[in-house]
Symmetry: C2
Subunit: 420 residues, 2 copies
Amino acid sequence: MIAEILCIGTELLMGQVLNTNAQFLSRRLSALGISQYHQTVVGDNAQRLEAAYRFALSRSDVVITSGGLGPTVDDITKRVAAKVAGKELVLFPEAEAMIRARFAQYHKDMPVNNMSQAMFTPDSTLLLNAHGTAPGAIVPMGEGKAVIHLPGPPIELEPMFINQVEPWLRERSGQVLVSRYIRIFGMGESEVDQRLSDLENGGNPTLSPYCSLGEVMLRATAGAATREEAEALLPPLLEEVQRRLGSVIYAIEEDDSGSLAKSAVEAMKARGWTVATAESLTGGLISATLVDVPGASSVVRGGFVTYQTDTKTVLLGVPAETIEEHNVVSAEVAVGMAKGARERLGVDIAVSATGLAGPDGGTPERPVGTVYLGISTAQGTYPIRLQLTGSRARIRTLAVKHAVNALRLEALGETGGQTC
Amino acid sequence: MIAEILCIGTELLMGQVLNTNAQFLSRRLSALGISQYHQTVVGDNAQRLEAAYRFALSRSDVVITSGGLGPTVDDITKRVAAKVAGKELVLFPEAEAMIRARFAQYHKDMPVNNMSQAMFTPDSTLLLNAHGTAPGAIVPMGEGKAVIHLPGPPIELEPMFINQVEPWLRERSGQVLVSRYIRIFGMGESEVDQRLSDLENGGNPTLSPYCSLGEVMLRATAGAATREEAEALLPPLLEEVQRRLGSVIYAIEEDDSGSLAKSAVEAMKARGWTVATAESLTGGLISATLVDVPGASSVVRGGFVTYQTDTKTVLLGVPAETIEEHNVVSAEVAVGMAKGARERLGVDIAVSATGLAGPDGGTPERPVGTVYLGISTAQGTYPIRLQLTGSRARIRTLAVKHAVNALRLEALGETGGQTC
């Protein structure tokens, strides 16, 4: 089965909206093992949209549209597809009821314009919208091909696709695919590749790497006639990957919604720990990243942002002489900050960060990107030196990830070899 | 002139990469007044790419490609365009020198493969790459049409487009366009629209609204034969917009790189102020947002993250009875937090935030999204109540924007009517 994504909306051509729908749909289709060779964006223009439909249907089996399902005259997505199919739009009472219920929920009457949102070609399969007024539909286009209409807002499109379209696609593609996402921090893409190259051989399960800032994600996907058979193919591969990579793997999960912060919070929660932060160059981002994890409130106690130099003394008790003697960006100051935060908030573990995010202020001894973290527990306090590169934002983000990972490793009792 | 964007790379079809280049290029083209009717993504496949080139050139004057300029056999962008133009690729010594210089900068020798990056059709105009090894090019395709090759990484594509392609496009389009970006926080899109609808009439200058979370941006664009003439058209419109909207405008700038935090830091710096933060639901994000502004270090002194309830007493001296009597999410606690932060760090102004980010924990009296900010100066301390809606992340982000804006307004001496 070949699928193709067709995003509709002048706001995309004007650059007012970032096309996250195309990425979302591509990832999901690719995880389903469905090939895609083209993505297209067209504006709210009937003639160009009709040409785009005809062209896409000539080369793909399924054309997935996003956008243009609203109640205004600019919303031409369904009308033009119906023209291409040679059919009329008719009212679907079930869709009308859904739209009226949505308005009732907002304590409003349905404007008469919105009736157009309940109209589809007669042989369409309705897709209900749990988050907005625009239903979607799977519209047969002849010769076994179909157009699938999805609403434009990601909050409406994403659950509709996952819950209603994916089962339909799975049934048609005749194969069940099951995936696991292996999340890695602390090992570069090339080293991961080198250690696993013989496993990335396109067999079943497949193993594919994806990179993001400082992280590598591996997707392991197995295909079989049933879910049970597909599931049974995964464990040997996952165990082998774990054996080769060890503790740089921070999560193996059924979706890619995990994060380093989630793993760190869970590891600390499992030990009944509370945590505090003491931040200079990261300015509160380590703390904000931890707090972002749902359920973090039993673990994250609080923290300090000690941005100007003397606040490290005022708030955390780092002696002014230590700062003067060793520099504010130093192992000694990071240690003093972490210790001060731990003692002042009475927590089990504290993390600190001091460093140079640049672009100015670097010296040969302390170039931009020099960062010291401190980790303090009742057992002692130690520094971690990082030498990061890139923009101010990149250095900050990487410093946050290293700090969060250091908390995770400490909570797991795996602190060896962290200094880098 | 009609332009069209053609992004090349299997990683886009797989959803591994979010296509920010398409948005960047669309926005810039649209700001230049150049029409676009289609955007396409194709993978690294010569046959499909050739079809995409031919189709795009049949309907557009300029086809802008991104990606596929690397040294590997998968990088087919230039080769296929040359085939469509019926020409051979030849070595450009200036491009080779640039690539060798880039490698020398990294203290490496240029691998022989990279020579392919220096090859273009003979009549091409070279685009030097200040941030990577892949030069781009403007490639004549006959009949006055052209393909413009840009590298895939945004950090290379964006400056190459702005500095080398835009002047070329401007010259060809025969009109100089000059824009100002009017940034607004604290007034919804519909009210902005209502107050300005008679100015958004498609005349010259044009006025176009763009929305993002909690903010509205207006772009005013004037076109004329020379820059001076275009510039002269803007002031009357900008003054009228300012007269109608007042202090919800936080910046009017020549590009859209400004931010609420930048305006707030600048306003505080202009008064010689220092600032401290005291954060609960935002967990350090207000502080991190302020610190993100280059040059913030003379203004941002430091802050407190008081996430668990009793840390508001331990770190900021908010009496436990105040918390018990009024609830931790209350005006009284926000006031106590801001006052405590200001006194403990000896700053001119402090901002605090306490609230319910959800999804759980709401009550009829304090539904999810209830947030209290506190603003404390030597003149006194006052609370601001916000009732926000949406996801946990949305509530946090909006709370941060309101807090930063409250600092800005206080520094400007405009504190009336903030409570909302």
